[in-house]
């Protein structure tokens, strides 16, 4: 592999890892917010347990979203300095806004929500998780604005070999954004729904004591997946016209297999969820038919696979351009980037993030297995005075 290939592979690997975790974050955030709201309104302990259990899954998953996101942000400057030199005055604006008004607030409010149990008044605590959800969606919006600009560079003109911003509104109404954003957000809901279904199926299959908890979680999962998958598929097909008009030949450049995989998984699962799983919610048949549960566990990873395939289609179909029709990937690479530098950083990022991602999934699996009875999110705080503690308390 030459230096450009290595830099591209590094971006593809870290970007794919990032989205594996982000897609679940986008799906779980509103579900946890709704659960928390129901708890705040009704005071029902079942809703408190749901908020804490699914909230903990959400939070463990979130950690890797941060780690991989940091690498994504810095990587533009590390390996693709040609992009900031040529298009930074346009492309950089939505990224700067994302970090300042979306992620800055998302992370701050998430800290308040995680550590605010027993400390914040209930209404304010619920407000925090809604603000986290809102800013997570705002984050997705600005990132998609930036990405859509790379697909279809509107709102700018070239002057003296650089792009200058002419019409910011055009970036926000980019035809490559308007269907792709709801497509991505619905894919998040679908993934969140499947994780609820898979984890619930595990407990129902094992006949653990949490029958009511997971029967209700399974129901939320199926309803969310029904809505999410229908919208994902709808907004997916809606993009074909735009792509034909703005990026003709995109699917010749993208690997056929990734497109086929995404559409295949999407279509099959959407029909399955809508015409099989949703009707089986009647009289809780799905929760009672134990023979179906291994299947539900088995299909849990499929929305993740489809999401990554979708990104591969979108990004590889842009090749050989970084900014479509204007700046090639090869020209965007940092001048003088050495093979040793990119090899070293690729091994470092892929090794560390890959290992942490594996650990994170094992921790999520562990949290699911232990169930709502042993959740550390929302546990009581400890007195600040150092009192001698027996070694295994808590």
């Amino acid at each position: 592999m030459d230096v450009v290939d290595l830099a591209r592979t590094q971006f593809a690997v870290t970007g794919s890892l990032h989205f594996l975790f982000v897609v679940l974050t986008l799906g779980l955030a509103p579900l946890v917010a709704i659960m928390h709201t129901r708890y705040a309104v009704t005071g029902d302990p079942l809703h408190e347990r749901m908020t804490r259990f699914w909230g903990q899954i959400y939070v463990i998953n979130y950690a890797l979203g941060i780690f991989t996101g940091l690498v994504m942000e810095f990587q533009f400057g590390l390996s693709w300095s040609g992009l900031s030199r040529y298009a930074g005055d346009v492309f950089g604006a939505p990224l700067a806004i994302e970090t300042l008004v979306a992620f800055f607030l998302e992370s701050t409010f998430l800290g308040l929500w995680i550590f605010g149990w027993h400390r914040l008044p209930r209404a304010l605590h619920v407000t925090c998780i809604w603000l986290v959800t809102l800013t997570a969606y705002a984050s997705a919006f600005w990132i998609m604005v930036a990405n859509s600009f790379l697909q279809h560079p509107v709102g700018s003109v070239e002057q003296g070999g650089r792009l200058v911003l002419r019409d910011f509104g055009a970036l926000l109404t980019n035809p490559n954004l308007v269907f792709a954003l709801p497509h991505v957000i619905s894919a998040g809901l679908w993934t969140g729904g499947f994780v609820l279904m898979g984890a619930s199926a595990y407990h129902l299959f094992r006949r653990t004591a949490e029958r009511e908890f997971f029967t209700r979680s399974l129901r939320i999962g199926v309803v969310t997946a029904t809505i999410g998958s229908a919208l994902t598929v709808g907004f997916g097909y809606a993009q074909f016209g735009v792509i034909e008009a703005t990026q003709p030949g995109k699917f010749d450049a993208a690997p056929e297999s990734a497109l086929g995989l995404m559409i295949g998984i999407g279509q099959l699962l959407q029909f399955g969820v809508m015409f099989v799983l949703l009707p089986l919610l009647i009289r809780n048949l799905l929760a009672r038919w134990r023979w179906l549960h291994p299947l539900l566990m088995l299909i849990t990873p499929l929305p993740f696979v489809a999401a990554i395939a979708g990104w591969l289609v979108r990004e590889m179909g842009r090749q050989p351009w970084l900014v479509y029709g204007k700046l090639s990937v090869a020209d965007a690479m940092t001048p003088g980037l050495s093979k040793a530098a990119i090899t070293g950083s690729f091994i470092g990022f892929a090794g560390v993030l890959g290992l942490l991602a594996l650990i994170d999934y094992l921790l999520i699996a562990r949290a699911v297995r232990r169930g709502p009875g042993q959740v550390s999110l929302g546990m009581p705080d400890r007195p600040a005075d150092p009192v001698p503690q027996p070694a295994h308390s808590l």
């Binding site: 939070v59 409010f109 009581p380 705080d381």
Partner: protein, 253 residues
């Protein structure tokens, strides 16, 4: 408009050093101050609620660099390539320690991740110091120099002082700080000390930065969206400090 965005960049960098410096310093000191597992749990519990609100200052700083000083963004980050890679890897290692240390049982598991916190924090402080020195000397100079290492040690020491003061302020009279107590004013002073290396660097590179600001069209557009949100950003940070300055220690990290 260039001056406003230069100000934003400077505030974000100094804010990061002042508000994240104590987390990094306390991370370095974790094995020194926290001899027992219970001690380390209290130290981590004291800083935990501030970490998420502290590290976002750096994320926002790089975002502003990209949006408002785009021609410099690529030059600076790629010019410091090995240092930026080391900074990211040590930062992620520190964060992984915090997020994972209580996610499984067993003394060995927690010891491993506590080790990740201190090694990551030490590496983060050193790479910051080396990066500041490299920035101040201009990017054409070699990255690994004696001055660079010296800068790294200075930043690490300033963070340690700030971290220790934070512990003596949040856990007043606790054996982990040998019974010391510090006031909010003392903490503000060490925040200032932690921010000095960053402040000096900003002063050295100020004119080069302002020269490379993005065109007015870009700066005005971003300003129109970001400026109305500034009170919310400050309010959210103040809310964190108001909520977690006193009282029992959270146990999630």
């Amino acid at each position: 408009m260039e001056i406003i965005w230069f100000g934003a960049l400077a505030v974000l960098l100094l804010g990061y050093f002042a508000l994240e410096g104590f987390d990094i310093g306390l991370g370095i000191l974790l094995p020194v101050l926290g001899r027992s597992q219970g001690d380390r749990d209290r130290l981590v519990g004291a800083m935990a609620p501030f970490v998420l609100a502290g590290e976002v200052w750096l994320v926002a700083l790089v975002g502003v660099l990209f949006g408002a000083f785009s021609t410099l963004e690529g030059e600076v980050l790629s010019g410091l390539y090995p240092l930026v890679v080391a900074l990211l890897l040590t930062w992620i290692t520190r964060d992984a320690g915090l997020w994972f240390r209580r996610r499984a049982d067993g003394a060995a598991w927690r010891r491993v991740w506590d080790g990740a916190i201190s090694l990551g924090s030490a590496g983060l402080a050193l790479t910051w110091g080396m990066s500041l020195v490299a920035l101040a000397r201009g990017l054409s100079a070699p990255l690994l120099t004696l001055e660079g290492v010296g800068g790294g040690i200075v930043v690490a020491l300033a963070f340690c002082l700030h971290g220790w003061t934070f512990a003596a302020w949040r856990l007043p009279g606790d054996p982990v700080v040998r019974g010391a107590r510090r006031t909010g004013r003392g903490l503000a002073l060490t925040a200032l000390a932690a921010a000095i290396p960053a402040g000096l660097t900003v002063a050295v590179v100020a004119s080069a930065l302002i020269e490379h600001a993005a065109p007015p069209e870009t700066l005005t557009t971003m300003g129109a969206i970001v400026l109305p949100c500034v009170p919310i950003l400050i309010g959210a940070q103040a809310w964190v400090w108001r909520t977690f300055s006193r009282g029992p220690l959270p146990t999630f990290f």
